[in-house]
Every structure is written in C-alpha cells, then in structure tokens.
Amino acid sequence: MLYSEKVLDHFSNPRNVGEIEDADGIGEVGNAKCGDIMKMYLKIDKGIISDVKFKTYGCGAAVATSSMATELIKGKPVEDALKLTNAAVVEALDGLPAVKIHCSVLAEQAIKSALSDYYTRQGIDPLPIIGEIKEPEE
C-alpha cells in the first residue's frame, strides 16, 4: 500500500486521539465487520469547535483520515466543519490510494454524525442542515 509521508505521519502520530467526557456532540460511523469504526467527540463553544477528539478502529488510512479531519475542524466555526469534504481530507494528506478513499468518506461522515448529535441535543432537527448520512460505498 503506497501511503504518502503525511498519511504515515498522521498514522504514527495521530492528532487528537481520545475522548471528551462532557462532549457536546458524539458521532460514530462504520462497523467492525467491514473493518472501520470512527468515533468523534466535539466540544462546541459559541458556535466554535473548541475541542475535538477521536477514536478509530481501522487501517492506517482510517486513523490518518480521522486525525487529519480533526485537525481541519479544530478551532473552526461549526459552519466550516459542516462544509468539510472527504476530498479536502484527501488533499490535506497528499492523496490516498484509490482503495482507501472510503476512509476519507468515513471521516467526513464521522464529523457530520457528531454535528448531527450536537444539533439534536440543541433541540434542532439536524436533517435539513446536514442531510442524510449514508454509509460509504466500498
């Protein structure tokens, strides 16, 4: 598997690993059967993602995309996190092997899933804002 230096860096030194106990939004996507699970924790203050942590079960690309995705949204307004695409994660990692693109989709969805939980906790229907979160096509 040809991984970029950035992917290997984010795999071996993943940023923002862990949990947030008093998280404002928690999202989990994927399943163990397919070999990837990502869990994201968000702390949101006044519309800004003040902290983000993740836990991932999966391959090198799954860990690296989770790590990169958390870096891309940390300290950013919720609106920016909503716009995060898997392509942006792939680009920030200097590319991914074709068979690993689904990991970046999973990372995007993990964040959307956590934001969806955040809106639900706020009493806001997340569906019109985020839309449906579909499992990535492998």
Partner: protein
C-alpha cells in the same frame, strides 16, 4: 530494547540466498547461451537446465521427465487444474473437488472453470484448519476429474492429510493435484510415496528468485500444452528457458530439502515461544491447529484492533509481518481462510501472521515479544471496538 530489523514474512517471499545468486550469475554474462542452440554455449545451458531438473525431481522423489519449469506457482496451479479439466472433460468427467481455503491461484482457476461448464465442489475445513479426507471421499462422483488440495495453507500453515486424500482419489480413479508452494522445503515430500499425481511449487518461497516455479506431472498423465511454440519443456510449455532462474531453483530446492528436520528442530521451539508469548496478550487466539502446521508459521487473532494498522506499527519497529485483514487485501472482506475456519469478520480483521525461518534468532523472538504488546495496547487505546469490548457492549 534496541531496534532490530526482522523479516518474519517468509511465507510471502524470501531473499535469494547467496549460494543461489552465485550459481545464477554466470548465466547472465558468460554462460548466456540459448539452451536450444547447437554450439557449446547452448549445449552447456541445456545441460545445466537438465541438471536443475534432476535436482527438483530428486527433492520431490520424482523423475526428471516429470518436472516442468513454469514462471511461478500460480502458473503451475493454473496449468494443472485447467489442463486436467480439459483432458478429463473429453472423457465426460466435468467435476473438480477443492477446498474452501485454497490459494486464490486455485480458487479463481476453479471459478473460471465453473463459467466453462465444469462443476466444482468446495469441501469445508474444520475450525482447526484441517480437511477431513472423508469429506473428499463423500464428494467424489462418477464424473470427478480432479481433486486439488493444498499441501499446507499459506495463511494459517495447517498441513493437510495429503497421503490419505491421494489414496482415496486413487481408489476412485481420480487425479490428485496439490499446491505445495508453502510446504516445499519445510516438510518432507515424496510424490511417489504420497501418491501425488501433480504438484505445484514456487522458487521464491525457498530462496530462489521470483519468476520461477515448477509443476510435477506424474508420467502417464497427459496435460494439454500450456504455451504453444518451440519445443521447450518437451513441447508442453514453449518459450526460451529462463536458464539463470532454473539453475537457481535447482540449487534452492536442493538446499531447502536437505536438513529439513535439523532446521525445524531450531525453528519450532522459537515459533512456539512466539506463540506462547503473544497469547499472553489478553483476547488473542491461535488460528489453525497448533501441531499440524508449518514449522515457521504462526497466525494469531488479536481482538479489538485491525491488522493493517498493526502491520504498519510493526514495520515502524522494524518487523515485517502479514495479516488477513480486508485492508491488506484491498477488498471489503477479510481473508477467506480465516472466515473458512469460522472466525467472525471483526476477529479476522485483527489477525497477524509471522513466518520465520532458522535465521530468526532467539534475540529476534525476544524483540518481537517485547515490542508487540505495546503496539497492541496503543492501538486498543484508540479503538472504539476495544472500548466497547471492555464495557461489555455489542460492537458488530
């Protein structure tokens, strides 16, 4: 412990040995003749190709004329299975028996034949990774052309009851082929005593180069020609002989098949120490029968983590290993071998295969055992699956 480099993936490939390389080198620049040429340079090449054929034959208990050189083990498998299917179909026999956990070179060949009017029965394997010869007996029909069962499994290393299966095949008048790519050089093989009709082997698993293999075909069995052209390999597989590779295979197989017992006496205790050491990690299990397995093979599932991550971390610590996870195969499903012995997907994703040889030292074993638990802990700490397991929650 100081970082080491440990190659523990000899089931994937091996380094060309110095002796093999030295034996091959003259054939590139000095003894480069075409084995079909009439002058001395060519005759010498032919003589050396035939000497290598004798070595391969001797290593298997076969006759030189029963050995055909191929480019790899997969080619040998393809030729044996498709060839037998074609020959036997003319006699109205259109049924093949194999097992569910064969190498893809066998499985995909069988699947190809299924699209061309051949019926295939896939016998199951036990949770220990062993085939019951009685299952073969039950599967044999009037129109069975061929039984093809691997000598030893490439992932979990389990050694199959080849002689018993061959005997059943012969009772019923059915051809028997075995893919022995993983077994040659690690266990004693005698094609005559074991009743093997066809056997595939590969050079790069036994310290020859990549790109050379061989098929043993018992005399009297007529396979269709694989490559049409010149008269090489008795006209059955045309194409100018790869003289250096063939010579290298001869040396490699000679070395690999002598002193097997002595080498295994060194390898097995080290392998067992690795197994016992790794099984100290909680939530681990050995895949495949502990005793009926290749001396250097171990395959262990480590719950709560995924195999590719494990391999990358091991690599960062200088250890080359292999896994049956989906991510290492580029497909969604984990190894068909691990699924065939009853492992759940999520357990199969976290498997580790080490395949060691006698150059894997006691210090190497110590190093692996010192590094692995820390890697597993680190991956489990970031694993939501492990978190759920520890909380007793479902995670499938």
């Amino acid at each position: 412990m100081e970082k080491r480099f440990i190659y523990a993936d000899n089931a994937a490939t091996t380094a060309v040995s110095e002796e093999v390389l030295n034996a091959m080198l003259p054939y590139f620049r000095t003894a480069y003749g075409n084995a079909s040429s009439i002058y001395k340079l060519g005759r010498d090449a032919q003589r050396d190709v035939e000497a290598a054929r004798e070595k391969v034959a001797k290593a298997l208990g076969a006759e030189p004329r029963e050995i055909f050189f191929t480019s790899c083990g997969s080619e040998a498998d393809n030729w044996a299975i498709k060839g037998a299917a074609e020959t036997m179909a003319k006699k109205g026999k259109r049924h093949i028996i194999t097992s569910v956990f064969e190498h893809h070179a066998v499985l995909h060949t069988c699947e190809y034949l299924e699209k061309h009017g051949i019926e295939v029965t896939y016998v199951p394997v036990s949770d220990k990774g062993l085939i019951d010869p009685e299952d073969i007996r039950k599967a044999i029909r009037e129109d069975t052309a061929l039984v093809t069962i691997m000598f030893a499994n490439n992932e979990i290393g389990t050694i199959q009851p080849i002689a018993e299966i061959a005997e059943i095949c012969h009772e019923k008048g059915v051809l028997f082929h075995t893919d022995a790519v993983q077994a040659v050089g690690h266990v004693d093989i005698d094609v005559k005593k074991m009743g093997i009709d066809m056997l595939s082997l590969s050079g790069h698993k036994i310290h020859a180069q990549k790109g050379i293999g061989a098929l043993y075909v018992r005399k009297g069995i007529i396979l269709p020609n694989l490559i049409h052209g010149g008269g090489q390999e008795r006209g059955k597989r045309a194409g100018t002989e790869n003289v250096p590779a063939i010579v290298g295979l001869g040396v490699a197989i000679e070395n690999a098949t002598k002193n097997i017992a002595e080498r295994n006496a060194v390898i097995i205790p080290r392998r067992n120490r690795l197994i016992d050491g790794i099984l100290q990690i909680p939530y681990t299990r050995l895949n495949g029968d502990r005793d009926k397995r290749l001396p250097g093979n171990l395959n262990i599932s480590i719950e709560g983590i995924e195999g590719e991550s494990l391999l990358l971390m091991l690599d960062m610590n200088g250890i080359c290993a292999s896994s049956g996870s989906a991510c290492t195969s580029g497909s969604l499903d984990p190894s068909h071998v691990l699924l065939s012995i009853g492992l759940k997907h999520e357990i199969a994703h976290g498997s580790l295969r080490l395949s060691i040889e006698d150059d894997t030292s006691d210090e190497d074993v110590d190093y692996i055992l010192s590094v692995l638990p820390g890697i597993v802990s680190r991956l489990r700490e970031m694993s939501p699956v492990w978190e759920k397991m520890m909380k007793g929650e479902a995670y499938e």
